[in-house]
Symmetry: C2
Subunit: 198 residues, 2 copies
């Protein structure tokens, strides 16, 4: 029924994560009805990003400049390097504003099932960055999944012999977590890593 242009827009939107055909249609209707306040701003924002989109040649972050804003920031502590699986993880850590150092994005995790091998990830470039010196600590901030931890172990092996301290994120109870609802794996980790009461 809708014109081919509107159909195409609905399909493009419905392929975004979190939007299905139904919500894409609602979004399109919203865009069509609010041309000045919704459609045009979205169009201009997409144009601006599309024009400048770049993958950072140092860390693998996606940004509108290369090097990215994090790598180009002179206030960052270059002695600390945080290794993450995906750009989304880098963004999540940046939102917390807790890590003062720089990042390295692997672009995925080792996975026998999905056929992801070490050479498919940005591991060689990580080793090159470490070999160049100047980094004291490497934080392996992989996801707390089997594949994430396998990836962390592999990277730890590859970085053996380099004068860097390897650390990983603590495992345990999430803030607000109730024992009754936690899985046994998390409980076991929290118990094993228990600390003296200050």
């Amino acid at each position: 029924m809708a014109s081919p242009e509107i159909e195409t827009l609905t399909q493009a939107l419905s392929r975004l994560p979190g939007l299905g055909p139904r919500s894409a249609r609602r979004a399109v209707l919203h865009l069509l009805k609010k041309r000045e306040s919704a459609l045009d701003p979205l169009l201009r924002a997409l144009e601006a990003v599309s024009e400048r989109l770049a993958t950072c040649s140092i860390c693998g972050n996606v940004d509108t400049s290369d090097p990215c804003a994090v790598c180009a920031d002179p206030r960052r502590d270059t002695r600390q390097l945080c290794v993450v699986e995906e750009v989304a993880d880098l963004w999540a850590l940046e939102r917390s504003r807790l890590f003062p150092g720089k990042f390295h994005v692997l672009g995925g995790k080792l996975s026998a099932l999905d056929g992801v091998r070490p050479e498919d990830l940005a591991i060689d470039s990580l080793v090159t960055r470490i070999a160049a010196g100047g980094v004291d600590e490497v934080v392996l901030a992989m996801n707390a999944t089997l594949e994430g931890q396998t990836t962390a172990h592999y990277i730890a092996e590859r970085l053996e012999g380099y004068p860097v301290r390897l650390t990983q994120l603590a495992h345990g109870l999430p803030v607000g977590g109730e024992l009754d609802y936690l899985d046994e794996g998390t409980l076991a980790q929290a118990l094993r890593a228990r600390r003296p009461v200050a």
Copy 2:
């Protein structure tokens, strides 16, 4: 952290219905990582729609042409006219492909609370269409809400004296509906409108 361009895009997306800040961020990451398959197609689709977007001067539908595809379709039965509150309702009926006639979009419903008066809706233009003749039946396809039904009553009054048959959508059990879970209003309507078993 993210560049201003990416921030602006995230905000533009998060204002779409069904997307919050979190899902907008996920969508932006998806767009940035899949430039060829996601960002560029969405950009081109928005451009195409933005260039041609028009509100149909006959029925009030939004489309990429004026008159819209429904009004311009010569196979449509011009003797049947379906009046709906919103463009979304027109699209919902079109998806079912059950109504062979034409449409009229009011652009809302009468509401004392929200201060929506008859002159705020496309009611005068509806009367003009009916007065021009050629329409046998007007289907008042308002929502089954208090305001929708008030709007339907008002339109029925305005169309008194014109030689058209006024009808409304049937009320009753939705397909797959279980009595136990239905509200009393729907049950009452279904009982009142009961029909002999064929």
